[in-house]
Symmetry: C2
Subunit: 658 residues, 2 copies
Amino acid sequence: MSSMSHPADENIETKEMDSRSLTSSQSQEPYVHKVGVPPKQNLFKEFQYTVKETFFSDDPLRPFKDQTKSRKFVLGIEAIFPILSWGRTYNLKKFRGDLIAGLTIASLCIPQDIGYSKLANLSPQYGLYSSFVPPLIYALMGSSRDIAIGPVAVVSLLLGTLLQNEIDPNTNPTEYRRLAFTATFFAGITQATLGVFRLGFLIDFLSHAAIVGFMGGAAITIALQQLKGFLGIEKFTRKTDIISVMSSVFSSAHHGWNWQTILIGSTFLAFLLFAKYIGKKSQKLFWVPAIAPLISVVLSTLFVYITRADKHGVAIVKHIEKGINPSSVKEIYFTGNYLGKGVRIGIVAGMIALTEAIAIGRTFASMKDYQLDGNKEMVALGAMNVVGSMTSCYVATGSFSRSAVNFMAGCETAVSNIVMSVVVLLTLQFITPLFKYTPNAILASIIICAVINLVDYKAAILIWKIDKFDFVACMGAFFGVVFASVEIGLLIAVSISFAKILLQVTRPRTAILGKIPRTTVYRNIQQYPEATRVPGVLIIRVDSAIYFSNSNYVKERILRWLMDEEERVNRDYQTRIQFLIVEMSPVTDIDTSGIHALEELFRSLQKREVQLVLANPGPLVIDKLHTSNFANFLGEDKIFLTVAEAVSYCSPKLAEEP
Amino acid sequence: MSSMSHPADENIETKEMDSRSLTSSQSQEPYVHKVGVPPKQNLFKEFQYTVKETFFSDDPLRPFKDQTKSRKFVLGIEAIFPILSWGRTYNLKKFRGDLIAGLTIASLCIPQDIGYSKLANLSPQYGLYSSFVPPLIYALMGSSRDIAIGPVAVVSLLLGTLLQNEIDPNTNPTEYRRLAFTATFFAGITQATLGVFRLGFLIDFLSHAAIVGFMGGAAITIALQQLKGFLGIEKFTRKTDIISVMSSVFSSAHHGWNWQTILIGSTFLAFLLFAKYIGKKSQKLFWVPAIAPLISVVLSTLFVYITRADKHGVAIVKHIEKGINPSSVKEIYFTGNYLGKGVRIGIVAGMIALTEAIAIGRTFASMKDYQLDGNKEMVALGAMNVVGSMTSCYVATGSFSRSAVNFMAGCETAVSNIVMSVVVLLTLQFITPLFKYTPNAILASIIICAVINLVDYKAAILIWKIDKFDFVACMGAFFGVVFASVEIGLLIAVSISFAKILLQVTRPRTAILGKIPRTTVYRNIQQYPEATRVPGVLIIRVDSAIYFSNSNYVKERILRWLMDEEERVNRDYQTRIQFLIVEMSPVTDIDTSGIHALEELFRSLQKREVQLVLANPGPLVIDKLHTSNFANFLGEDKIFLTVAEAVSYCSPKLAEEP
């Protein structure tokens, strides 16, 4: 019986310590500290608080507080067009940074745009169009200083895949393009709507891990698609999964590959990769990989023009429309069968574009430590795509690679986007005919080189280390994209993300607590093996709000802990469990189902002759325990401020019956 | 400055107390207790644990532990057919209880079945069929002792509404019936599948509040539908919303109502309500409302037969097929267009039927204190509906009203269902022709009387008191059903339930903590107004796991608390905030996004010259903080076991700069 006496002694020590620290002033009453019941909240105030935390958690109206009406109006206009605010302090020094950054990203975006428009099954000029209008609108309305706007690889691929499921771009190019503009329009509407109704938090439902997997998979898929241009294959599969693509590549190996194309492509790919390597080696040389693509385009175009390699089967751009964006207002489908399809595709593409842009915006904002209002960003991105859809642009968003270059080139404000936009304008007006002889293989090399960075294997390794479930989500999305299609991958990513959320709310964790020696602190005995159980008392902590989604589980789990513990106690001939203390510190809220579960728990315990005791219920919980009358039902004297107090209440009452 | 000195003094006191209680044994080191890092878990074990908690949280395999193979086999068979287990101890005394209960629920179910089958737009015998086969199957496989199986009002209405959206029951009765069997088959498959794959927790996603609202709304809708039979209206709307029904009722007021019908109906409705009242007054007289419906049917049938009131426009049942259930295996659509529709309707009806049955099962199990395995129940209910669909039954489930009667009549086991089933068999074989003259008005009165109990206004009031958001869900479902349709109401119920879950995970609560005087306990200062802030230190508790869905919010919310606090401190000329302690006790888990958020928080705080300190991270969190290297990045010495220790680390380091 020596094993018993020790914890019992310690228990008395606890009690003494508790009473010493807690009842020093009022020695009549054994427990000084009542669990606080917060003052009854006004219903309207409570509602206001919830709405505020849900939709205005970033406190966007803080600057408007205590201002005159006219000042509020000015602030409101400035909130929609931040350029009016930061424009006032704009100066030549900042412009210098923006000019250099703008020129750099322009040189990077022009060849990328031409390539990306192919991913979307659109003619090359549409890529350039999308790098002209949207950046201008963003510069007026956006609040990120570092983001570089334009078409991006993943969204182009996604849009191309979704669109070609509906219309064949080769046989019906006009309808296809019209549907693309329709989707772009509704992508913009989706983005702006989410922003206006402050539903920006919806994009947080796509987990970081799922995005890493999805992006990596999309990058592999995009790179595989480039094999067509890179190897000079004419007949190529329309599917994007790795098996179709590889069989398409190898079946055309004997007569479909063009060695001149491969030579040009691989030479310049080597050059680009080398440039990238240099850029990574020295941060100062960041401009080397940034301008390498344009240099490749110029050199290869010249080479093809001189050697007329296009006559030997080297595929070239051939034709690219000259002049700036024509209006496309009338091309958008506002009625008919394609309207619904456009809306659906637009919503998907818009959400993904948003996720990418917000992720970029947040990353750079945190690096330079400025606040970014996600919802305001969404309005800006949405407006830019709506205007874009009317000026022959397809979905534009923030580009990871170009934003990084923009940042490193020392951009100061969104003016770098304006500079880029102007360069693209000049290109469209004067230079496009020169792209005629640009070999497709170069564009393929540029795209391959641009997307390999999206395969973030380091992040994947970290995810594996930190959270295995996250890793499953990451790999699910990755393999879904690579082996099935972008849509399937996306679906997997979203589903796994949701499954994780649902798991989190249905299966909250619970823990058995023990007393850490020489303190009055009770902690999880799995984490602190030195913590000792209090004989006759089982202390369980529930680690989540108790809601309908988990109330039943929580009740059953607690009973299961009790059964396990009773088994152990019986086996070891220890004191029978007579008290069950539920530590409720982490239980932030409880609803009707939760109260029912507690009542059922109380009744089950009663039948087993175990008393239920609660420790430290939070403000909402104690309020609801009172309103529902459960506090009376249980007995007010069984609710304590701390576990230590609860234990010192239980211990002396234990009937010793080993 | 007197306001400052007081908390500062107290602070010293805290420190002293902390060191006294914590460092009594090792006086060299100021902080004895390290935050425990749990032993690295084996990946497979971790996975096993997660799977167990998710799918086997009710520990269904406990009885199988430490048993021989043959014993395990027997236990397995008994798990599927619990009757083999409880049948062995069955005795005459139990049978007496079951016999009385069975006869009582049989007398209640026969008139109800005939009425409910009308709600499902099926001929009256199908209601009786569904009270014959399913209860037998359930008695073999089910584990609830109190549930009474058969057609129920809400599921009949739901099925009727969903089916008639696809096929008109008046013009195509055969196809309609075939689709009904198809839906029943897939309802059973859905239920059994959820059970087999242990996905029973999915039904927990429909909150108690949403169910209360949905049931109440369905009851009103069902009662309104009875106005057709009750008033003797011939032309009646097919819609179920209150506006269509009432306009249909009043537009037929002049020539469509039949006074004889109304007279019969209201007389017996008064009788039934009176019987109900008696039953409520005295628990002993529970049998009065239970047999009143059958008495009404007998009396009114006799009355109509004698007076030939049917010749004066009193609508009667007219024809009801004699004989037991014919086979309907060949009537189920396993191919073609209707297959998909049957599957869809089956899934919806099956889930709702399941929700009702499980709720009943759990209620009575907790009243008699026996355990109910939700997943096993689902398999039983599913098997019963699959068999039912092959024997001309439509979706059966547990009925609230009849189960309550069963319970009060003293049922002991599922044998009461067998007794009921036998009575229904005899009725089908011998008595059905006698129902020919039963007036429809009586059936309407019986149904009205049965469903009014589903309008659980007391529960709604309690919900209002406890949780306003729940009340919105409840009312949303209620008004959705009443003013739109059952499907819309259901959709609203599910959506609001999900919205609540999502809100819970995206917007976790945070609280500022203060020290409760004369203790080392730190609590929410809103709940405990006497708790005092520690000058120069801001203590924030985060009340949820930090996951991708809330990591960004948590970070921003903490920074907002800091900004608010800094404003307050500046205004009052108090010590500048130099330490931010994040109390992580409730943070049960963290993922990659969460770690990123902490890193960003750390950097933002660094720029503001505020030091980040963590208190009491749980086992999973501390493990991940180490794996991700954040613990090193932050500094191991800034992670403490308790807030009190963290405070006593911070306080002496404060540079006094008011």
